[in-house]
């Protein structure tokens, strides 16, 4: 690889193809394999409605992962997102107070809370120089407690239907598939926005730069601290969205987001993101999340005892990263 790149123009077409191949993340192949696997088990799942169901179900994790990627790429972790999701659901049930008309301003408030949490994460990492692992771990504990302390231990009200519509409702009638989940629309919109931000604006390029070489980034005039804070804010916002979808899909539930933080990180890594920064792609990360969800579904269909699903997940994650590390070393 490396040799080719420097031997000069005459070989460059070959290099282009190779680098082209390299740039296609293997996660898409894995995803397709998994979907085929699901199909062979039960074709129903590959009918439009089945796919939409899978997407609707995976939407929270996919969105969460896309947000997590912003942090990972800039060289950090965000462990606090799961707690933010739960906090969103609990907060909504308290604030909406069974009155549908409240839903709209409540959603705004929730985003406010999320953004504040994200800014705190970012400030801790950027200015107090607390390692993101510890900072967000602390936030994970603190926010988990805060939500329940706020409501005295259990959610206080129902989530009204208009609030839940995002996670549960459908757009209908729709040609081909008679009904189209709002959750998937949200997924598409949010993904589109995040993909645009990350791949088509300065923001994404600067995050990559910060994660790849913070010192060089500073010397190139990039405001490293500010970028990190932005990354955590984005991640927190996606957590709120994921929380709204999750709460909408499942209803009130004090621990709607538990364990999502590690799933999101795993998914992003499956999508080829490199921990400690510098590499990553939003579409691939989203594909990683979908692949993880598809994997669960497949193992489920196979009637594989639930515990072993964890084991398989563990092996796949290690494998994916080892593969990345390996191909990385190879090309250097």
């Amino acid at each position: 690889m490396a040799q080719l790149s420097t031997i000069g123009q005459e070989k460059s077409w070959r290099d282009r193809i190779l680098s082209g191949l390299r740039s296609v993340s293997p996660i898409y192949v894995v995803l397709i394999l998994l979907l085929i696997g699901i199909g062979t088990q039960n074709p129903v799942f590959l009918e439009p409605s089945g796919i939409l169901n899978l997407l609707r179900r995976a939407a929270p994790l996919m969105i969460l992962t896309a947000g997590q990627l912003f942090v990972i790429v800039s060289g950090g972790f965000d462990l606090s997102v799961g707690s933010i999701m739960s906090l969103t659901v609990i907060g909504a049930s308290l604030l909406i107070n069974n009155d549908p008309t409240n839903a709209w301003w409540v959603i705004l408030v929730l985003f406010g809370i999320g953004i504040v949490a994200g800014l705190i994460n970012g400030a801790l990492v950027s200015y107090l120089k607390v390692p993101s692992l510890i900072a967000t771990l602390g936030m994970l504990l603190a926010l988990r407690g805060a939500g329940l302390y706020w409501t005295g231990g259990a959610p206080r009200g129902y989530l009204t239907d208009n609030f839940r519509a995002f996670g549960r409702g459908w757009l209908e009638p729709v040609p081909w598939v008679e009904r189209f989940p709002y959750a998937v629309i949200v997924l598409i919109v949010v993904s589109a926005i995040l993909i645009y931000l990350f791949h088509y604006t300065n923001l994404g390029r600067q995050l990559l730069a910060v994660g790849d070489n913070p010192r060089a980034a500073k010397l190139a005039g990039i405001q490293v601290e500010k970028m990190r804070i932005v990354a955590f804010a984005v991640s927190a916002v996606t957590a709120v969205i994921a929380g709204i979808l999750q709460g909408g899909f499942g209803g009130v539930n004090p621990d709607a987001g538990d364990g999502y933080e590690l799933q999101a990180i795993s998914a992003a890594v499956l999508g080829g993101a490199v921990l400690l920064g510098g590499r990553g792609s939003v579409p691939a990360a989203i594909a990683g999340a979908l692949a993880l969800e598809a994997l669960f579904t497949l193992l489920n269909l196979l009637g594989l005892p639930k515990p072993l699903r964890d084991a398989v997940q563990g092996l796949i994650i290690i494998g994916a990263v080892a593969y990345a590390a390996f191909s990385g070393r190879r090309s250097r």
Partner: protein
């Protein structure tokens, strides 16, 4: 110590390739016991690579090493140490958090059943420090981070000696030392060869080379040019061998008086933790060379001007108006650029494609959510392509990740990065360190072209030939101060004189710039 005996260490037809460069090409050298063998050559000539190969840090792609006549190969530095080859690397190789003793005997701690014998360790460390005559200066249980650069250099040497090895390799050991410390070292080396040790020695200071060395090997561009006896050659001959042509043709024309314009940048009494009372002027169209020993504050000067470690007092005037420059962004806003010394650590984004590397500063000044043009700006959508042509980066594609480019091409990318943001004040720190000769020449050309186009250039370099050949004026630094200024074409001696603190009645003092800033060099 006669040459009758056979070489203690010999390299035969060694070739070593790295992505993009052939660092050493079919090199064969013999090193005799009991003599100093200097290896000279420009940066990028392959000296350091050769040393690392001899020390087992690299393994050759082709060719063999012979130790005392028998073929050997090393897979791990330890194996080289075990046969008796020790090395002092150019960049320091010490653990700042650990003590002098722990560093010197790392991996070889005197111990019983894995338990380190502290007293023994201290005693041995004392002994080794004595051998380098530093026992009074340095305490065995001092943490390395508390030592000055010079002291750290001595610890490195002590560490190397502690192996009681038969071959000692020194990669620019004097770069950081003031004259009287160099004298200590010289005496030390004489003692060592007297005991039959072979000393292999890299240096840019020809005075030292000719004082110390018995044999001089010249490398150029990874090739072995010649090995000559020191007393049979003159410095100018050696230089000619090094650069392959007469020195005076080697660099582009200096600026003519009419090419030099108004003052673009002026620093007045600038000071901070590491710099004291810096004042200098930089004019449009001229190249001002900054010389000085490692740790003299060269790089700190650049960092201060560029707002990385800003001046805490004094003023900076850009084109006559005073500007506070507290961050790099502010500097870039004022159309300044900074080509840093350490590409890998400060210059490039290794995992990012070439175009994003080049456009980073431009984009940093744009709105955060501005839509990007992949290969340029709204005004110049093809900017990257043009620049890649202009600085002549050899790359298969401008989407290539820069980690896969050769050092020279990486440096050109860094340069293009600042051309992209159309600077009219450019600071270069070691612009040609570690890149091969033709790339070097073309970079010198570019720097001069920029100056002729009206850019004000401040060029820091530890390579005297470069400073002398490129600069329209030369500023010399010592101990965080500007110790003097010399006109174009000043001689090496004059520069070294200022660079070691003379003329400023600092004779006795040791340059002691502390802390990370200098460790990076």
């Amino acid at each position: 110590m006669a040459n009758a005996q056979l070489p203690i260490l010999e390299a035969r037809n060694i070739t070593k390739r790295f992505p993009g460069v052939v660092a050493l090409n079919d090199v064969s050298i013999q090193f005799m016991p009991g003599e100093v063998h200097a290896v000279v050559g420009e940066n990028g000539a392959g000296k350091s690579t050769l040393m690392k190969l001899l020390a087992g840090a690299y393994t050759p792609d082709e060719g063999e090493l012979f130790f005392q006549g028998s073929s050997i190969s090393f897979n791990h530095p330890r194996e080289a140490q075990e046969v008796g080859i020790s090395i002092i690397y150019q960049e320091f190789n010490l653990l700042p958090e650990r003590t002098v003793a722990q560093n010197i005997f790392l991996g070889r701690e005197p111990s019983r059943y894995g338990v380190v014998d502290q007293r023994q360790l201290m005693r041995q460390t004392q002994a080794v420090l004595q051998r380098v005559g530093a026992e009074t200066m340095i305490s065995p249980d001092a943490e390395v981070k508390t030592l000055s650069i010079a002291q750290q250099q001595l610890v490195e040497i002590a560490k190397a000696l502690s192996f009681d090895s038969k071959v000692l390799i020194m990669d620019e050991p004097t770069a950081a030392l003031a004259t009287h410390e160099v004298e200590i070292l010289t005496r030390l080396i004489h003692k060592l060869i007297a005991n039959g040790m072979a000393v292999i020695f890299i240096s840019h200071r020809f005075t030292e080379v000719f004082d110390l060395a018995k044999m001089i090997t010249v490398l150029k561009d990874g090739q072995h040019v010649a090995t000559v006896a020191a007393d049979a050659a003159t410095p100018s001959q050696v230089i000619t061998m090094m650069v392959g042509r007469e020195l005076d043709q080697y660099f582009p024309e200096l600026a003519r008086a009419d090419e030099i314009g108004a003052v673009a940048l002026e620093v007045v009494n600038g000071s901070n933790a590491k710099l004291h009372d810096i004042s200098l002027k930089l004019r449009a169209g001229e190249i001002v060379g900054v010389s000085g020993l490692q740790g003299s504050g060269r790089t700190e000067l650049a960092q201060a001007i560029f707002g990385v470690e800003p001046f805490t007092s004094g003023r900076i005037l850009v084109k006559g108006t005073e500007r506070p420059i507290k961050t790099p962004k502010a500097a870039i806003n004022l159309r300044m650029g900074f080509v840093t010394e350490d590409r890998k650590a400060e210059g490039i984004f290794p995992n990012q494609p070439l175009n994003d590397n080049i456009l980073a500063p431009v984009r940093a000044l744009q709105a955060l959510l501005r839509r990007i043009k992949r290969f340029g700006t709204a005004e110049k959508p093809q900017l990257v392509l043009e620049l890649v042509q202009q600085v002549d980066v050899r790359t298969p594609s401008i989407q290539q990740e820069v980690q896969y480019l050769s050092g020279g091409n990486q440096q050109k990318v860094v340069l293009a990065k600042w051309l992209a943001s159309t600077c009219d004040i450019l600071i270069f720190d070691e612009p040609t360190r570690g890149i091969d000769v033709d790339a070097k020449a073309s970079i010198h050309e570019m720097i001069r072209d920029l100056a002729q186009a009206g850019t004000a250039v401040l060029m820091i370099s530890s390579e005297l030939p470069e400073v002398i050949g490129m600069s329209d004026r030369i500023v010399v630094m010592w101990d965080g101060r500007i110790s003097g200024e010399l006109p174009a074409g000043a001689g090496e001696e004059a520069i070294m004189h200022l660079a070691t603190g003379h003329q400023e009645s600092h004779r006795t003092a040791v340059p002691e710039p502390r802390g990370e800033g200098t460790l990076e060099l």
